[in-house]
């Protein structure tokens, strides 16, 4: 009895506040816009009995999805979100791997401190960390001031409100998600494996390529998914650091909802976004599962 209750409470909570809302989104994405409250039609009227339900379903259609394919804003936004996510994942990996590697090779008594230094930014507000770059990257910002002062450039660079700023912001805020899984994979690695590789004729670089990289692969994969999946739907970074040319689907959805108040289209955007994310999410789950099995 107690066990049933223990299972039921979180189960029902998640069903009601996680699953049910999805079906509502799905339903509204099939509805039409209306100048009413709520601003869509039809609404389900159970008092009409079976006929009412039938009537309700007959009014649902795929109009909004057709609309998404017709207006190139949407598919361009999806494409550019995926592109930005992929590029910034690679950039984060390039920046993060050497840091994770150095942490794993650091003296053991330093490692908890280094870990804390990596995690600390993660606990501070995401919004503030993105905001910090606004002052650095703007035309009269600190980076331009530094570059002008050193004489590397003579006119300020435009970085803020471009995709470059978005990449910098993503790498900066998502770096811990890349470092931590790679670090934990590298730290578990037996140091004698590298010695064995060298003993068998590898140079340092070959040993790194043939042993270290393959053994840290689960960490790399986990880190890449942890960065890529949320970045596809990212909203804060493109809206603060990106410009009018930065197309990301999270921002489009936000504007569709808050500025245009077009709930059915916003819902359709969300449904498609979710469909795009299903693939990497499933792949990610499988990678994690494989890893936990390997550890057993």
């Amino acid at each position: 009895m107690r066990r049933a209750l223990l299972i039921a409470v979180p189960y029902v909570w998640l069903l009601a506040l996680f699953m049910v809302p999805f079906f509502i989104v799905l339903k509204i994405s099939l509805s039409d816009t209306a100048l009413a409250i709520p601003p869509y039609t039809p609404t389900l009227d159970l008092s009409g009995g079976w006929a009412g339900i039938k009537d309700f379903f007959s009014q649902l259609d795929l109009e909004n999805f057709v609309w998404l394919t017709e207006d190139d804003l949407y598919w361009k936004a999806y494409l550019s979100s995926v592109k930005i996510a992929l590029i910034s994942t690679v950039l984060t990996l390039i920046v993060g791997y050497p840091i994770a590697y150095a942490m794993a090779r650091a003296p053991e008594e330093w490692r908890p401190t280094l870990m804390m230094l990596i995690i600390l930014p993660f606990w501070t507000s995401f919004l503030i960390r993105v905001y910090a770059w606004m002052g650095i990257l703007s035309n009269e910002g600190y980076l331009n001031q530094l570059l002008l002062w050193t004489g590397i450039i003579s006119t300020p660079l435009t970085i803020l409100n471009t995709n470059t700023a978005v990449y910098i912001g993503i790498v900066y805020t998502y770096l811990p998600f890349m470092i931590l899984p790679i670090y934990s994979a590298l730290e578990r690695m037996d140091g004698s494996l590298i010695e064995a590789a060298e003993d068998l004729g590898c140079s340092r670089l070959q040993a790194f390529w043939l042993v270290t990289i393959p053994l840290s692969r689960p960490g790399i994969i986990a880190g890449c998914f942890l960065v890529m999946i949320p970045v596809i739907g990212e909203f804060v970074i493109p809206s603060l650091l990106g410009g009018s040319g930065t197309l990301m689907i999270g921002k489009v959805l936000w504007e569709e909802f808050f500025s245009n108040r077009d709930w059915p289209v916003a819902s359709a955007v969300a449904v498609v976004l979710l469909l795009i994310l299903v693939i990497p999410i499933v792949l990610f789950q499988r990678n994690q599962q494989k890893q936990t099995e390997a550890e057993k």
């Binding site: 050497p98 503030i128 905001y131 703007s138 009269e140 770096l175």
Partner: protein, 272 residues
Amino acid sequence: MNRLSWFNTVSLTLGFAFLYIPMVILIIFSFNESKLVTVWAGFSTKWYGELIQNQAFLDAAWVTLRVAVFSSTLATILGTAAAYVLVRSGRFFGRTLFSGMIYAPLVMPEVITGLSLLLLFIGIGLDRGILTIVLAHTTFSMCFVSVVVSSRLVTFDQSLEEAALDLGCSPAQAFRLVTLPIIAPAVISGWLLAFTLSLDDLVIASFTSGPSATTLPIKIFSAVRLGVSPEINALSTLMIAVVTVGVIAASLVTKRAMMRQRQDEQAAARTE
């Protein structure tokens, strides 16, 4: 490997510089006299003074704090229960769905979670305000709590619970007297994580809050959309300070506890 090679030293130095310089700049310029945030005009704490007098920020901070306390506490209870169910309950109807619902919110884009919850609240006619934000935050942060707690439960020696039952505890007593004290650190860090996530959240709060309840991130977001402002720098500095003190204190406490345990073990070994 006692010393770092130059390559590793350079990686660490550059990496940490990249992580910390933006925040250091932010902190320095929060003490800037000038309204122009990019030009240094002397030391001043006047922006902190203005911040304290800004009633809108204070109200938003108070709302945020209440939401964070309520939602993280609720999320900790639900998340711990969910972790216990996942690790200990074996098979039950819809287990796969349940674990899917625990893990999916971790990677779900916030815009989708926010939108779907808003549509739910409107659908059932719930007025948007503190309550709806608490419900929304609880839902996604309970998943984080349950991941943290279940990773501790997995390594937990189940024979301890069995010993408690063998010695006459009811299952509830065994949980309260044996399991809970042992997993307490994970539960506490789960609470802290939920609390931070709630304090931090902009997107979901924007969808689920009403005009009566504006949280601090919403307030900050609408301010910084217009550009960099010294007042926000001051606010950011305060938030960074609170978090830094908290994280360092927490890590010192755990380090002390570990050192004490090691000393005790060494002392015990000597008496053998």
